[in-house]
């Protein structure tokens, strides 16, 4: 485990500390993470998505992605990163799910299409005893893996709430994990890490919190989730109320176009109806963030995109 305590604090807090955070940063947790990685591998599957969540994870800085891959998690299946392919990869995934039954994390990126028996998203295939090939749909995959998992994490807005694939006009019956679980009566614990894509810290931080909880539930209660299944730790605060432009908003000093100073409300900013810590965490190693650059389009919210569009028109 090469995640230093300092890095870990930074990951969770983005400069602000709270009770649940300090608990998570207990040195025991760090030890637990190493143990967790050994005991509870991660299977990361992709449905109807763009791989943006995976690419965002690669941008992790605290800890660095190199450490995540080599030391922090045991990523036994990931379509974009793993070395194997085809039958070798699919069989390995099922073998891990059986070997670690009740003890692995299932991370789902992308929505689950349910129209046409799920044939809008084929994720792989298996071979039966007679050598016949059978396509596996995303629907079948989640139906088979989720009940065996210790916990499921909806990575990104597509899997958490349906997101872009489930937007108005969608013909594929794209659905969120939560709706799919309800329909299939799957009871496995579900935590959402929305964002289109999610910030790498939200993904790594949530996994770490989940690990700590699983390994020592008494000392590490499950991070508090809001009504939309997101950890309050990262999604507990309103963007607008904490925006550096909120004073300008109060004085009705609105930017007339993107490149002029002022609050971005009249340009369509959805900060007022959006809850995430982008305002302090910022993006890409703290370089910038959507509102400083243009507007917030509310990408972490359950009603994204339909409830947030038109993006460039005031609410």
């Amino acid at each position: 485990m090469s995640l230093s305590r300092r890095e870990f604090v930074k990951l969770c807090s983005a400069g602000v500390a709270g009770l649940s955070i300090s608990r998570m940063c207990h040195p025991g947790v760090l030890h637990a993470m190493t143990e967790g990685a050994k005991k509870a591998p991660v299977l990361w599957v992709q449905g109807q998505g763009c791989t943006g969540c995976s690419v965002s994870l690669l941008n992790s800085v605290h800890p660095r992605i190199k450490e995540i891959l080599l030391d922090v998690i045991s990523l036994e299946f990931h379509p974009t990163v793993m070395g194997s392919e085809g039958t070798l990869a699919v069989e390995h995934m099922y073998a891990v799910a059986d070997k670690f039954k009740g003890n692995f994390f299932l991370l789902v990126e992308g929505a689950i299409p349910t129209a046409k028996e799920g044939r809008y998203c084929i994720v792989g295939e298996t071979t039966d005893a007679k050598g016949h090939h059978k396509e596996i749909t995303m629907m079948e995959l989640v139906r088979e893996l989720a009940p065996k998992a210790l916990a499921t994490v909806g990575i990104g807005t597509c899997s958490a709430y349906g997101g872009i694939p489930a937007a108005r006009g969608n013909v594929t019956g794209a659905t969120s994990l939560k709706d799919f679980f309800e329909h299939e009566k799957i009871k496995t614990l579900l935590v959402n890490v929305p964002g289109c894509p999610p910030h790498p810290d939200w993904m790594v931080g949530t996994l770490v919190a989940a690990w700590s909880h699983v390994l020592n539930p008494k000392e590490h209660p499950l991070p508090e989730l809001d009504d939309s299944g997101r950890p309050m730790l990262f999604y507990g605060e309103n963007i607008h109320e904490n925006c550096p432009y909120v004073e300008l908003y109060d004085k009705a000093q609105f930017a007339p176009t993107f490149t002029k100073p002022g609050c971005k409300a009249e340009l369509g900013c959805k900060g007022p109806s959006t809850y995430a810590d982008c305002f302090k965490r910022r993006w890409n190693n703290g370089i910038n963030w959507c509102v400083e650059n243009a507007v917030c389009i509310g990408c972490v919210e359950p009603d994204f995109p339909d409830g947030k569009s038109p993006f460039y028109v005031a609410e």
Binding site: C50, E76, V123, T257, T259, E292, S309, Y312
Partner: protein
């Protein structure tokens, strides 16, 4: 749709090998090859996912398209954003200020660097370099034909492999830094906020430009000192892969990175190269076919994208892919770095010129001096690495041209009805977005992406798609370890 394979693979038998999923690519792809006497004799690419962006876009505010379409691909969202804002510029009749054009190039250019580095190191390199013996690097093929298998001298094999593996890990950092460069003017990555119809949303300050430049310097150093030398070193271990995976040798480029405000000149030129001849690019000659795709057209034959239809039908008999088959003059054309480098034919990097001479005895000043070697698995990797350098040289110029504090945005009016097409080149190949507006709303939106150009199924005339064709003749000596099939597909960056 189940079928039996012939598992024996003796001489004369035809063995069918499905690879599903093809991993380390963006999206869901299956490939099935037929192998006879150790080589591929037929191939099919199956695109396994449909989301329906065209339907989702219909009826929305045209300005929203640049945000929605970025979610087509998380590896090159800036490419879809660029195509979308260019389509908006055309439909809105707005001219981006010079500074906005340059900032767009800086945003998109930085993601070119990111995408190429990610592609080679994190998607393709594990086909050659042996990763550590832990997940996600294992399991891997037992007979994987890695560097460590190819180089007989064990000490040399291990040190060459270590050189590659160290770079794999370092490249993780470098591509992250490229994303920081994109975010500097684009807000964040993946999925930028900063490009809109009419220009870009953030005025570049002197400080931001300096921050971008500092990161760029580090990336350029990596490209020159590590990426380029590694590609040529790898090629010298896999000389056979310079003659494998030829394909149609028909290539297309729409051109990318406008160098003037009227879009008359660009860094990469638009053009096509068909049947050994160069021709100017004419968008009228593009048609999409769907005989083998899970879509229905209201009339038979191919359709120009401006009359494009997207009616999915996963039950369609005979179809095998959610990818349409675009054709230029009814010919399948390969798109991507090889296509662009072949058409533009820029100078090869000093590193490349030196190593080509030292390792291969080739005197090459410009890309086309590589000749037939370019149309191969390794040739495509060389094209991508050389292009990374070529785009980096251009970024260096744009950094001198960009003006601190100068306007980057011209506010457009949304017309009642209009149409416009944005032509650009995603890192992985030719990309166009077609936007039609009616009553100030999107009436039709059509995307013809790089994956469509390269990974398409057969067309109505029965011609294979470019990747399907390039697979023909690829050696598969061991049917349990069809390594070259994955190598060929990944070299295209599907």
């Amino acid at each position: 749709m189940s079928q039996a394979t012939t598992p024996h693979g003796g001489a004369g038998d035809t063995v069918r090998i499905p690879i599903d999923p093809v991993t380390r690519i963006e999206g869901h792809l299956k490939v099935e090859v037929e192998v006879k006497d150790g080589v591929v004799v037929d191939a099919r690419c199956y695109g396994g996912m449909f989301r329906g962006f065209e339907q989702i876009l219909r009826g929305r505010d045209p300005r929203d398209s640049s945000q929605i379409v970025q979610r087509i691909c998380g590896v090159c969202p800036t490419a879809h954003c660029t195509a979308s804002v260019m389509a908006q510029d055309a439909a809105f009749g707005v001219k981006t200020p010079t500074n906005g054009r340059i900032v767009r190039n800086l945003i998109f250019g930085a993601n070119y660097l990111q995408s190429h580095i990610l592609h080679f190191y994190h998607l393709a390199a594990l086909d050659y370099v042996k990763g550590p013996d832990v997940a996600p690097f294992v399991p891997r093929y037992t007979n994987a034909d890695l560097i460590t298998d190819r180089i007989k001298d064990k000490t040399k094999a291990d040190s060459t492999n270590k050189y590659g593996l160290d770079q794999y890990l370092k490249a993780l950092e470098v591509r992250r830094i490229c994303h920081e460069m994109v975010a500097m003017f684009g807000g964040r990555m993946p999925h930028v906020q900063g490009m809109v119809g009419g220009g870009t949303t953030q005025i570049p300050t002197a400080e931001r430009i300096a921050d971008y430049a500092a990161r760029f310097k580090e990336v350029l150093k990596f490209v020159t000192d590590e990426y380029l030398p590694l590609i040529y070193t790898l090629g010298s271990v896999y000389t056979d892969l310079f003659a494998t995976g030829v394909g149609y040798k028909n290539v297309i480029s729409f051109g990318v990175f406008p160098l003037d405000d009227d879009g008359k000149t660009s860094l990469h030129k638009p053009g096509v190269y068909i049947d050994g001849k160069d021709e100017p690019f004419d968008p009228k000659l593009i048609k999409e076919y769907v005989k083998y795709s899970f879509f229905d057209y209201s009339k038979p034959g191919g359709l120009h994208y401006s009359e494009g239809e997207t009616n999915p039908n996963p039950d369609k008999a005979g179809a095998y892919s959610f990818v349409k088959a675009p054709r230029y003059k009814d010919k399948p054309c390969e798109a991507g770095p090889l296509a662009r480098m072949w058409i533009t034919n820029p100078a090869i990097s000093p590193v490349g010129q030196k190593l080509l001479k030292e390792l291969y005895g080739i005197e090459a000043k410009n890309f086309r001096d590589l000749g037939d070697k370019a149309f191969s698995i390794m040739g495509r990797h060389v094209a991508r690495a050389e292009e990374t350098y070529f785009v980096a040289q251009a970024i260096e110029k744009w950094l001198k041209e960009v003006k601190p504090e100068a306007e980057t945005y011209a506010k457009p009016e949304i017309p009642d009805s209009a149409e416009g097409t944005g032509f650009t080149e995603a890192p992985r190949g030719s990309l166009l977005h077609y936007l039609k507006i009616k009553d100030k709303k999107i009436d039709n939106y059509q995307v013809v992406s790089a994956t469509l150009w390269n990974c398409n199924p057969r067309d109505d005339m029965g011609q294979r798609g470019p990747v399907e064709q390039a697979l023909i003749g690829v050696p598969v000596p061991d049917i349990k370890n069809p390594v070259n099939v994955g190598r060929l597909i990944r070299a295209f960056d599907p």
